[in-house]
Assembly symmetry: C2
Homo-oligomer: 409 residues x 2
């Protein structure tokens, strides 16, 4: 029931990137349905460079630890991604299993195990089914092809109801540069420097440091501004690979490089918002703008307090213009010396609170008209500064409860 | 559907306190049911002293502002409490309405309007129906009686499914001192120095400063350690009145005074836990203990991160021992330099995580046995200090969503 989201189309191949997908039985079968893909391999041409952001959760999963270790040693040659099992909270066995899966891929591709980065997503605390992985890896190698982006987007899904993928192109000094990205995520979404599995590739020629700068900035402006439930995953990772197959080089001081960055940010924003549109149980796509704050941190604090309020979220689910709950959330956000008489609150274009109290022009019918929509803007003017922040979130519905009380059963 | 909570019995009158309750039509009628009480008056004998804690929400309601103002001017003679309407987010009109209701009570009781403290609870952002209040106040005066504590506990309820009240007695140097308290609250519960309406009275003789010290300490150890949904109300207030009718005086340095404090803390704890047991949609009563933390603040941060995690809360609702969600919440709590290899997690007496990974002795059957209970203990040993904290919370159920999507309709 994703909000305003349809199956991705027109995904563009990236020179130097091949993908393959298979079903090896890590995801539990659903009665009467064919086995779902749960193992994906992405390979990159030599000289590719890679930028990364990982979860800040102190309990990071085994594959995250192994990937970090491998990145310190060499440039990656490929990613192995399984869905259905997070390999998190699995201790030393989880580390051993992640490393074993890298060795198997390395044997097939004739590279070093440290050139393989492992990623996992799914249930926490269960051991990886290694035999299934081994069989799956064997099937993946002959299936590698540049055209498999959509299949890969499906292969990394867990509770997602729809695949998330997008391509962008930008022409720099006459040469067309392409970016294609896929992402998954629907619950346990409040990324902190990364989101739950996103893989982006480009054929741009670019140095690793600049690529990392661009990715960090783009993630900060996209994935780090979304929340479904405030729960940061143990497995979050966002990867950006440049295969450097273009003859045009993206260089920091070159004005054209900003165009490349903007294309990257559009890819990240589209994928981040797609995660929210497909948030577990989501029936609304909600944009929260906080303006006139003293600092960006303060603006984000207010935005997340509104976004995480179960009372605001259930009012959104009910399409109920119960603006008192928004006001109460602003009030409890913990801002020093908040003077409520300077606070205005808007639902869409409708002013609901003016100078800290119900606006004289507000009518319930106006509020209801905005709340009936599937896409809702909440805007708060704090009246105490010039900084602002925007985040995206969902409502809290019966389906969220059903999905998360049934997930393991 | 309160967890382990039954209708209060054996409430004891407090010398010097009278109460009256009436239904004046502020609460919306429920089809086929008699009108519910929604207006309560409590009066106190002369020389009574009063201690208070109010909400820290910057958007505090009009009655909270008026009560604070009146308290600066004189000692209160009575409380007027309405349920069904919070008189919050109502601007100047709300202030005028609260003051008008105080004047009406003052006329009837022949006292000054500043000796009346107003309290309101219910829907935010609607004007108080003043005519109903006026009619109700007239009915209250002749009904005042010392035996009306249970009726008063019912009269202040909103989404509560059961009344919350308790009495305690303590014998100090041969004299029996009595405390009786009532509270309401079920949703929008994460009190911050107070909870959503609690009124306690005692016949103890005690000075105002000491009474305030005791109340602040007791609230800190009870109401400030509970959460249903992380939403702090605009109207929270906890009031403690001592009518000073006992001949024994509670004095700070006297060892007997600690016995009085302990009785007060028991009253606060019982009422605070009753609010959680009757939390909106609650099917579980959950105690979260965080031990071996570097500071109490750090322990509380971890406790609330677990308590507010929608994923932990839905697992509790499903009686699903999905301990990976608890582990993920600990990991994202933002503790500096958290070494997961020192972390142990227990469900009841069952060790589920030992040294940061699934305990070798853990079986799903053990976890399931604990989760099947209505009262569940979660204990986390952080292994990095000697401080600890305990908080109480609920699960997140379909009924929470239903209650909060239907509340205004």
């Amino acid at each position: 029931m994703a909000v305003g989201l349809s199956e991705p189309t027109d995904l563009l191949a990236i020179k130097g990137v091949k993908l393959a997908t298979t079903a090896c039985g890590i995801k539990k079968p659903v009665d009467g349905q064919p086995a779902r893909d749960d193992l994906v391999l992405m390979t990159f041409a030599g000289h590719s460079v890679c930028a990364v952001t990982f979860t800040q959760n102190a309990f990071c999963a085994a594959p995250v630890s192994v990937a970090k270790k491998h990145l310190q040693q060499t440039a990656p040659r490929c990613f192995l991604i399984n869905s259905g099992n997070a390999n998190a909270g699995t201790g030393q066995q989880g580390m051993d299993d992640a490393q074993q899966s890298c060795r198997w891929v390395a044997e097939k591709l004739n590279c070093d195990a440290t050139q393989v980065l492992p990623f996992s997503t799914g249930v926490i605390g269960e051991p990886l089914p290694l035999e299934n992985l081994h069989a799956g890896i064997t099937q993946l190698i002959p299936a590698l092809d540049a055209s498999n982006w959509l299949a890969a987007a499906h292969g990394i899904m867990t509770t997602d109801t729809i695949a998330k993928a997008v391509s962008e192109q930008v022409v720099l000094e006459g040469e067309t540069i392409t970016l294609t990205g896929i992402a998954k995520g629907s619950g346990m979404i409040k990324p902190d420097m990364a989101t739950m599995l996103c893989f982006i590739a480009t054929d741009a020629s670019i140095e690793a440091d600049l690529l990392q700068q661009y990715l960090s900035r783009a993630v900060d402006n996209s994935f780090n501004n979304i929340t479904v439930d405030g729960d940061t995953s143990t497995n979050d990772a966002c990867m950006l690979v440049a295969t450097c197959q273009s003859s045009f080089s993206v260089i920091a001081e070159d004005p054209a490089s900003e165009q490349f960055y903007q294309a990257l940010e559009r890819v990240c924003l589209t994928l981040a918002q797609a995660i929210i549109r497909d948030g577990e149980g989501a029936t609304k796509f909600v944009t929260i703008n906080i303006e006139q704050a003293r600092s960006i941190t303060e603006a984000k604090t207010v935005a997340y307090t509104i976004a995480h309020s179960p009372l605001v979220k259930t009012a959104l689910f009910a399409s109920d213009p119960n603006w008192g709950r928004i006001l109460a959330a602003v009030g409890r956000a913990g801002l020093a010396d908040l003077d409520i008489s300077t606070v205005n609150i808007f639902l869409g274009d409708v002013c609901i609170v003016r100078a800290g109290a119900k606006s004289h022009t507000y009518t319930e019918a106006q509020g209801q008209a905005v709340m009936n929509q599937a896409e809702i803007d909440i805007r708060v003017e704090l009246g105490r500064g010039e900084q602002c922040a925007t985040i995206w979130t969902t409502d809290l519905s019966h389906d969220y409860i059903s999905i998360n009380s049934d997930y393991r059963s």
